[in-house]
Symmetry: D2
């Protein structure tokens, strides 16, 4: 098995999907052992650090990559299996950034209100317990919250000659910020350019659905991935498969359109898996869909449609790719 290990230096961080030369060229099937810096580029380290003082907004959400996959062509499908996600530091940070987040005016939801106050929370990690510690500043409340490591950002070069900020989620994946992107899942992305040019970043030690204040428990992450190539079959929107669920992620505004995209994407998938026509899939989805939100704060909002496999007949998505990668991950 080809193995790539990569911990980028600060000058090697990338800030876009597309528009950047690959850090590595890999063959399909390669195992990647990566390190990702946190979304603040490591600049938020104390609860006295205010975003407006310490952050450089042109250098947020650094990505590790991009990786050029040999043989990948437009219309193909990239399968990224997340083998492991391990917090790379013993602490993580979250904060309120002025005019950013779901419950404040922003540059798009342009209002006349002053920004919310800035406040920073540092979460200490207890590796033994597998928890991070929330410490309230306005009351005597300390909560040990189980970690649930995930990657906020997984994506590849966009279509249409575009280059997009790593802050954006869209059809190319990107900053979807869905808690479904955790160890054990396989993410399928439609490839738009030769080599796919994927990258990952934005580790969260945990995150609620919707990521309301705009920043999760953000921390540097050790990321182990298996990257495979499927010829053809490119899905319009990102798909995720776990041992227990099928998930489609849509990203758009308003939020209903993000969700509609994920629903229509899943209807397409159900048609592929079971030969159902659109109306039958629509009906079935209506009765079994789980619909946890991903983010309601980014450039596009992201919503998911999620189906439990135990409600469905055995399927064989992408030729059993998830099962195959799961086994390879175990055998490594």
């Amino acid at each position: 098995m080809d193995v790539v290990e990569y911990r980028p230096e600060r000058h090697q961080y990338v800030w876009t999907f597309g528009g950047v030369a690959p850090s590595h060229r890999i063959t399909p099937g390669t195992l990647l052992r990566l390190w990702t810096e946190d979304a603040f580029s490591g600049r938020l380290t104390r609860s006295s650090d205010w975003p407006s003082q310490v952050l450089d907004m042109t250098e947020v959400n650094p990505q590790t990559g991009p990786f050029y996959v040999e043989g990948a062509e437009p219309g193909d499908t990239l399968a990224l299996h997340i083998v492991e996600l391990t917090p790379a530091r013993d602490w993580a940070a979250s904060t309120t950034i002025p005019f950013f987040g779901a419950l404040t005016g922003t540059d798009r939801t342009a209002l006349l209100n002053d920004p919310l106050p800035e406040r920073t929370w540092i979460y200490q990690l207890d590796r033994a317990k597998g928890t991070v510690l929330f410490e309230a500043t306005s009351a005597e409340l300390r909560l040990e919250l189980p970690i649930a490591p995930m990657l906020g950002t997984v994506g590849l070069a966009p279509a249409g000659r575009e280059v997009r900020s790593s802050l954006v989620p869209d059809k190319f994946g990107g900053n979807m910020d869905t808690p479904e992107m955790r160890a054990g899942v396989t993410c399928y992305l439609g490839i738009n350019v030769e080599g796919a040019l994927f990258s990952v970043g934005d580790g969260h030690y945990r995150q609620g659905e919707g990521e309301s204040c705009g920043t999760a428990v953000e921390g540097a992450m050790e990321v182990t991935l298996l990257a495979e190539l499927i010829k053809g079959g490119a899905p319009e929107w990102p798909r995720i498969e776990s041992d227990t669920h099928y998930v489609v992620v849509g990203s758009a505004r308003p939020l209903e359109d993000a969700w509609r995209a994920s629903q229509v994407g899943m209807i397409t998938w159900l048609g592929e898996l079971y030969g159902l026509d659109r109306l039958d899939s629509y009906q079935l989805l209506t009765q079994i869909s789980e619909s946890p939100l991903a983010n309601v704060c980014d450039t596009n909002y992201s919503a998911t449609t999620k189906l439990a496999k135990n409600l469905l007949p055995a399927g064989d998505a992408f030729g059993g790719m998830h099962r195959h990668l799961r086994e390879r991950a175990r055998d490594r």
Copy 2:
């Protein structure tokens, strides 16, 4: 314990929240054994029944009630504990209604497309197994889906002198269509008029989150409720408490506003429960919120914010009302 049993005749169905004389006057603490007709008013009985032919759109989503609660005044809180939900028939129905549903143009998302085709699915209930049977019409697929009975519609008379259709969800509750409204939970609604005037209906044998095609597995239901009155404390948006979760339901368009209402509602609740200020609650919510959608098809869309109690310190919402009603339900 006062007990009311009520199975309305067809001429007793009510179609609005507000604007209707009470069917009963009850004292706080009363146990209600009710029967609710399905959302189609029982008119959709075969897969050959097309909505445009058999439905009377002025008589959909009939409610059972309304109930006048003695002593209830504006600003008070109605606590409805759902003791039991039992399918009242051995079958249920779902369908596609022209220009209704999340994935079609509607009278509001006004487009030039023709309506989607009409199709009706009848689900047979297997009481022993606790399943309903989905039968595809376009492929050889039959799926036994576990029942998960819920009430689509729980509400009371609105504020501001308004009378709203039973198809509408809003601050008064109504047609929220959230799967969280199942047996074992307590729903808290802010009271707007003397007597509260609540009613219930729209039983679903199961429903996915978002109710995409617009109709769940719709069936008549035996409903057992405990109705209590809390003086004062009216929440702005409906709240639900179970043994395991706190939930707030927001209803608005676009969907992000429905969700924002549920988030701000939960931030308020967290402040009440634990003395957190808004920023601390915002932060905590960001890391622990579950955000399953309710409906993306009704007059307003409904989204929920849901918190697991096991992540939080013990709380005492509404003076322990849920625990109290839970016990009374067991002891009945």
Copy 3:
């Protein structure tokens, strides 16, 4: 010509469309000379009056009416020709109401920001010049703005047994807040209940498109109307005809849906007027539509589609009703 004169006393104000007994029964063709109170119910009279101190939010936007039109049945069309709108006072008021307006968080666009500051502007009317005086509070700026009297609220009893607040615009008209509702136009509304039960109110001495802060130059108004009945022909959304334009008003959220409703409504109207199919109407509309916004602050947002008659062949909307009423207004 039947003439009704009516200046309601404070206890006669109505606050809803539907749900209220008629103030008068009139025959089709009646001329109405009405007086409407301002949207603040006359409670905001000085720049030192703050809404949170002087307004009663359960008594805003009082309507004059409702009028029961003899012979009006569901499916018929009410034609209201606005003969004259004359400011009834020598001053008018505007203000910022906490958590209300387009550029602030509201109860639906629920955010964590504090409300914007309250401030009240009193506009003095100069009848000779036909202007109101804007006086800035933060700079030495005084502007004489031409008056452009309009009615913010024109509506009738809603469908579906509903009763709606006078703050709401929807298919029944209501609080559309469009500057197109000025003297010289005819407004066509689809009738939902026997007698139509229409009312009017919310005079604005002038208003910009969108009514961003939520309140126009609000003033009491002398209103002269001609009310006619057209059997059948009920439009789905309110239509307005002037000597120079056709207008359709859609009301919904998000704003694109309000506009879509107005566009589809106009496509229907073009089909009626010229026999065009939907695609031809869509194309023509694309090239000639004016699309001035009405309000982006009310319960539903309102947008208009407006076509200049001089770009179109002579039409004969509703059998020439506008021309007919125009002549009757001149001859009165």
Copy 4:
């Protein structure tokens, strides 16, 4: 006066803002005589041409440029004065593209409906009359519509290292599709990269507000521009100044956010021009804003806020740049 004449060959068309080497380097003050191909890249020439058959969707909306402005730096302002827009052909085209347009499901407003039928309209230009001819296909209707030439797309390289498709409108301008972009106006754009790198395209012989079907009367255009550089002063959103109006264009989804951006942008501008604080500007805007929509079909929707200069004191926007360019255009 420096003059650049440029009619790009097909291989010189550009499809993005950013990401392309400049076609020319110009000094501030240069007069540009340009030719722009139509949005269909000239591939739609007959009413029997269907988009799905003749269009290459990777080659739509070609731009002429980009132009590198000597001395332009991030934070500066580009002033583009449109001297003349002259139809370059004697015909133009419009069409319905599957899953594109305001009144159909799209890839974002993802629905299950079939696409609308494709139909193409060719408009013959009568230069003497200054009209284009609309010919209905479903009825005997031929309308001579006055031409009103405009540029759908005016933009420069985006911020944040992004490269955006020429189909996108955003803060960098781009595909705003506003009828306000006509001869005689000056467009101000905030510069994001050295040299500004602006380009123009997408001539419309006329277009209604909202561009509902997604394509205007699209035609090749002779474009005469004056390009000036203002050091500093970069506006957040594109501004347009004519002899009679100030306009700000916002682009976002949902549509209310596009409009909010334009409103807040105008409030900022009013503050700069007259020293008003935000609340006074908000109030004034509320009473005098015109709010014609631009497009409700593109990747972002665009809405405008437009103020008549004759309602306002004399201003001196950007140091009188518009007046200055107007004079230079006359003197050339």
